[in-house]
């Protein structure tokens, strides 16, 4: 007779001393782990609920401006520095870690229209309503020195926007026309016009650094090559675009914020039809900024909310609002992909988390593992109705909630009417126009 019985030595399964960690032998045999799917689903549901519990995006408010904040600029080399310009011509430099203002200067008379930090991070440019471009040092003047710009250029017309080249000493302004300036000269090296009277924003492409995009008041978005004398092409839309922003990773895509409450992502090579229409705002969209990963962007709107959109998603994944925040004029996504900064009408700059439920600070390895696991679970079960409902629910201010509903009703009514017209007319006379095609009037080359 040969016999063997299961006989375990407890020493193999129990820790030796209290100072050791507990032993946890594992056996991944699926038959020992029944209800795999239902248990995972329950975990995913719990993770989704906890995410909503921990979603506290608002971090801080930086106050000190005496008028509405009109523009923001990120420091190019320093994460903790932020510059802001207000409607009374004041520029403030902020230390974000300490959440305090480190320097204030009266840059312009009237609005500060645009502001940008030079790529080296030692100086910054401002343009204002007083038809000047000024270059300032980032460092505060020493004791006894006067606050003076390094350089001042007097322009002929009002400037409305400003952007600096990625690598070279070249910057672009917009106003009556789009001007490209050399830092060393007091007159533009290039001036672009295309039969329009004013531009509202200009942006350099971050990858193909010679390319520029600008928004014009004749409802068009114009693309330029700095090396060529004439603009490349433009797309005319049904409503005016306020700002434009390039995707930093896939720099052939750009997104514009439009007056018709939507944002449009275009492929630079095919302007006939936007890649995606991003809808959710209930008022004009004033500004947007891409995340450094290029996967998401944040938009600021006249409806007093900030929304975060995935780059290829038609609807926002997140909406931020507070009772006191008024029309959000300008918005920036921080270079470490963690924070969002918004400047609004009521003179405050607000600091938000880019990921509302994320825990800030250093994570313990187990914490990080747990967070990663629950993120994956949420992703896996995101389409289940109950999980979707919890994950998508956001509390909205009453006005916005009702406006959203109203817009939906209006849209539905319009669609119904179109449908009826199509039904009762000869086949082919009323073609189906997709949402993407609706908003583009024409492309001019």
């Amino acid at each position: 007779m040969k016999v063997k019985l299961l006989s375990r030595n407890p020493d193999d399964y129990v820790r030796e001393t209290k100072l050791d960690i507990q032993r946890v032998p594992r056996n991944y045999d699926p038959s020992l782990h029944p209800f795999e799917v239902s248990r995972e689903y329950t975990r995913a549901l719990n993770a989704t609920k906890l995410e909503r519990v921990f979603a506290k995006p608002f971090l801080a408010s930086l106050d000190g401006h005496r008028d509405g904040v009109n523009c923001l600029a990120k420091h190019t080399t320093n994460l903790s520095t932020l510059l802001s310009g207000s409607c009374d011509g004041e520029v403030k430099v902020w230390n974000l870690t300490k959440r305090e203002c480190v320097r204030t200067l009266q840059a312009h008379e009237g609005f500060v229209r645009g502001m940008v930090v030079r790529h080296c991070g030692t100086s910054f440019f401002t343009v204002g309503d007083d038809k000047t471009i000024k270059q300032w040092k980032i460092e505060a003047p020493a004791y006894g020195e006067e606050e003076e710009p390094l350089n001042t250029i007097l322009g002929k017309t009002v400037f409305t926007g400003l952007d600096h080249h990625r690598k070279e000493g070249v910057f672009a302004t917009c106003g009556q026309q789009v001007d490209v300036w050399d830092e060393q000269r007091s007159s533009p090296i290039r001036s672009f016009t295309w039969g329009v009277d004013s531009f509202s924003a200009v942006r350099f492409n971050p990858v193909e650094t010679e390319l520029l995009a600008s928004c014009a008041s004749d409802r068009s978005i114009v693309l330029y090559d700095m090396r060529e004398p004439a603009p490349l092409k433009k797309v005319i839309m049904t409503m005016r675009s306020n700002t434009v922003c390039w995707n930093p990773m896939e720099a052939y895509y750009f997104t514009c914020s439009n007056e018709d409450y939507n944002l449009y992502t275009y492929d630079m090579r095919h302007l006939e039809k936007p890649i995606t229409v991003h809808m959710d705002h209930v008022s004009a969209v004033l500004d947007l900024d891409y995340s450094p990963t290029g996967k998401e962007f944040v938009s600021a709107s006249f409806d007093k909310t900030i929304r975060i959109f995935p780059k290829d998603g038609g609807h926002s994944r997140e909406v931020y609002h507070t009772k006191r925040m008024q029309h959000v004029i300008c918005i920036k996504w921080s270079a470490d992909n963690k924070y969002i900064l918004s400047g609004s009408d009521e003179m405050n700059i607000r600091l938000w988390k880019a990921n509302a439920a994320e825990k800030l600070g250093v994570l313990a390895p187990r914490e990080r593992q747990a967070a990663n696991y629950s993120r994956k679970l949420k992703e896996k079960y995101q389409h289940h109705p109950q999980i979707k409902r919890i994950a998508n629910h956001r509390h909205l201010p009453k006005i916005i909630y009702h406006q959203t509903r109203e817009q939906r009703v209006m849209k539905e009514a319009r669609r119904k009417k179109e449908r009826n017209v199509r039904k009762h007319s000869r086949p082919g006379t009323v073609p189906v126009v997709s949402e993407k095609e609706k908003h583009v009037v024409t492309v001019v080359k």
Binding site: L6, V14, P25, R26, D29, S31, F35, S38, R39
Partner: protein
């Protein structure tokens, strides 16, 4: 890895400007080379460096190929590439088939599918690898030549094995309050005994430490541990009671009366009970709420078991049927006629594939409950009153006072038992102990713990049920388990249903389309005959006109279908013609054809 990659630095390139920093392995190699070429004498540094270059090149090539890596010592890896994983191991951890490639899929979706397939395959491989490292092997019993294992007595086994294992064979003489029913806790450490005449005892049976002992002064029908060894449920004469491990009565649940049998669903925290009044009731023990009460309308219920894979309760009835129940449906999910007489006992195996039933017709039957098909049928002369399945698939059947254990009842036709043992009086309850080679038998004279080699799962999972867990670990586990308590609504016959794509039926799709368009594109307008004057709209003529239109429609469809058929036929013929043409073209090589 770092070391090998450093060794790859191309010496040819470095030699020209600067010598690479000295490394101990370089020296070793150089020394070897010198020894080798010592006879030649005239081996200059140049040739040496050349050799180096070749070696480095070769090494680089090797690395590019990804296999046959060499060690720092220069020896080739005798087992290049990843270790082989046996097929059955891979099969064990297989969760799903590879997703089928659908033509003209969106590239993003295709990419996502490919990545997810890759990840799941990697997980499967890793799990199969780790399977090699499991520390324990299952027990076994083999007779000598011409020796039946069923003739080997328990005393022989306990004499042959080590002391700790031998101590697991014992008898408890409790003749006063018997017969006994029993239950092992989920970790297999704790034993709960309930005597017919009111005696309850909780024992840590391996150390033989008595945790509590009470007499409820009432008849007891069944006992069951709840999720941990801190609480247990007792079905007494009238009501259901819950006690803690010190024997203190925690609850008397008056909603549950005349309970005869109980099952605990550990992942749902549900206590399922069946009563003499033919009610199947579910109690959520985490919140103390009755989840469902189902009147099965089948008389007294005293045969019950659960499917551990999908938490479906199986009930046996006096008319020979076995019914399957979930708390979400007032009707039985499945009714199977299993026996000619009444069903005496039912058991479902751990994998949830096989069900074993025994009936008054003295038959023992094995069913595949995925397909609800009978697999095997055995005749037991005495008939089995009590069945229990172990984790590794051993079946114990009690016939009167004899306990028989069978092996492989579903795969091979069994002629004689694997083991047999006679207890003092009629067997009343029987359970295999989880993670141990032990079978607990409750009978009229008390309790017998038998040794059944090869019954228990040798390797437990520490995060699921750990027999060696400390109080702290148990608390941690309890919190986790409660957090992921599965909602009773998720109990279905197929537990993986939740993870599958809910494909809309064509009807649903059509409905959605109608909703989106605002009208039904496939709908045909109904023909309403126009009213005609001068008596031409009589009932007969209206009917005739209707028939005329209908006939026209029919003719149209028939014409259409015949045209389609012709088209297909024509295409087929053309294709055939082309093939014939192609095949008739003679090639120069055709002469070599046989």
């Amino acid at each position: 890895m770092a070391a090998t990659s450093e060794a790859v630095v191309n010496p040819a390139h470095v030699e020209k400007t600067k010598k690479p920093p000295a490394r101990y392995w370089d020296e070793l190699q150089d020394g070897k080379d010198e020894n080798k070429v010592g006879k030649d004498g005239e081996q200059t540094g140049e040739t040496l460096s050349q050799k180096h270059v070749e070696k480095a090149k070769k090494r680089k090539n090797d690395e590019d190929r990804g296999d046959a890596k060499k060690f720092i010592s220069g020896k080739p890896d005798p087992f290049p590439g990843p270790a082989h994983i046996s097929k059955d191991r891979m099969q064990k951890f297989k969760r799903r088939d590879k997703t089928k490639k659908i033509p003209r899929q969106h590239y993003k979706l295709k990419d996502m599918m490919a990545r997810s397939d890759e990840v799941s395959e990697m997980a499967q491989k890793q799990a199969a690898r780790i399977d090699l490292l499991l520390p324990e092997d299952a027990g076994f019993l083999e007779g000598d030549e011409d020796e039946d294992t069923c003739t080997i007595s328990q005393e022989d086994i306990s004499d042959a094995v080590d002391i700790t294992s031998a101590s697991k064979y014992f008898d408890l003489k409790l003749s006063q309050f018997g017969p006994y029913r029993l239950d092992y806790s989920r970790t297999g450490r704790h034993l709960l005994l309930g005597g017919r005449r009111g005696h309850i005892a909780c024992i840590d049976w391996q150390t033989k430490r008595l945790m509590c002992e009470i007499n409820v002064m009432e008849s007891i029908n069944d006992v069951k541990w709840l999720h941990s060894e801190a609480m247990y449920a007792v079905a007494q004469k009238k009501w259901l009671y819950i006690y803690d491990s010190n024997g203190i009565e925690l609850h008397c649940i008056r909603k549950f009366n005349d309970v005869l049998r109980m099952q605990f669903l550990p992942y749902h925290f549900l206590l399922a009970t069946v009563s003499a009044t033919s009610f199947l009731q579910y109690l959520d023990v985490s919140v103390g709420k009755e989840v469902a009460a189902i009147n099965t309308k089948t008389g007294r219920l005293d045969v019950m078991c659960q499917n551990p894979q999908n938490a479906i309760v199986h009930l046996g009835h006096s008319n020979g049927t076995v019914t399957l129940w979930s708390p979400n449906q007032k009707e039985a999910l499945v009714k199977m006629l299993c026996h000619q007489g009444a069903v005496r006992s039912v058991a479902v195996d751990k994998t949830g594939i096989y069900m074993v039933t025994s009936g008054m017709d003295k038959k023992l039957k094995v069913y595949d409950i995925r397909a609800f098909k009978p697999l095997k049928s055995y005749f037991l002369p005495a008939g089995a009153s009590c069945l229990s399945l172990s984790q590794r698939g051993l079946l114990s059947a009690a016939t009167g006072d004899i306990v028989q254990v069978y092996r492989d009842v579903w795969s091979t036709p069994v002629t004689k038992p694997y083991m047999a043992h006679r207890v003092q009086r009629t067997v009343w309850g029987m359970h295999f102990c989880p993670f141990e080679d032990v079978l607990g038998v409750g009978h009229g004279e008390g309790f017998t713990s038998m040794l059944i080699p090869g019954a228990g799962e040798p390797n437990f999972d520490g995060l699921d049920s750990n027999p060696y867990r400390s109080a702290k670990q148990r608390q941690e586990w309890e919190v986790k388990a409660l957090l992921e308590k599965i909602h009773p609504e998720l109990i279905t016959l197929d537990p993986t249903e939740l993870g599958q794509v809910d494909q809309a039926t064509s009807q649903q799709k059509h409905q959605d389309r109608v909703q989106a368009l605002g009208f039904d594109p496939l709908a045909k307008e109904k023909f309403i005959p126009r009213y005609k004057k001068k008596g031409r709209s009589s009932a007969g003529s209206i009917e005739r006109r209707k028939r005329q239109v209908a006939n026209e429609d029919l003719r149209e469809t028939v014409q259409q279908s015949s045209e389609d058929k012709m088209k297909i036929e024509k295409e087929r013929k053309e294709r055939e013609k082309k093939e014939v043409l192609l095949s008739s073209k003679k090639s120069a090589l055709d002469r070599f054809k046989k």
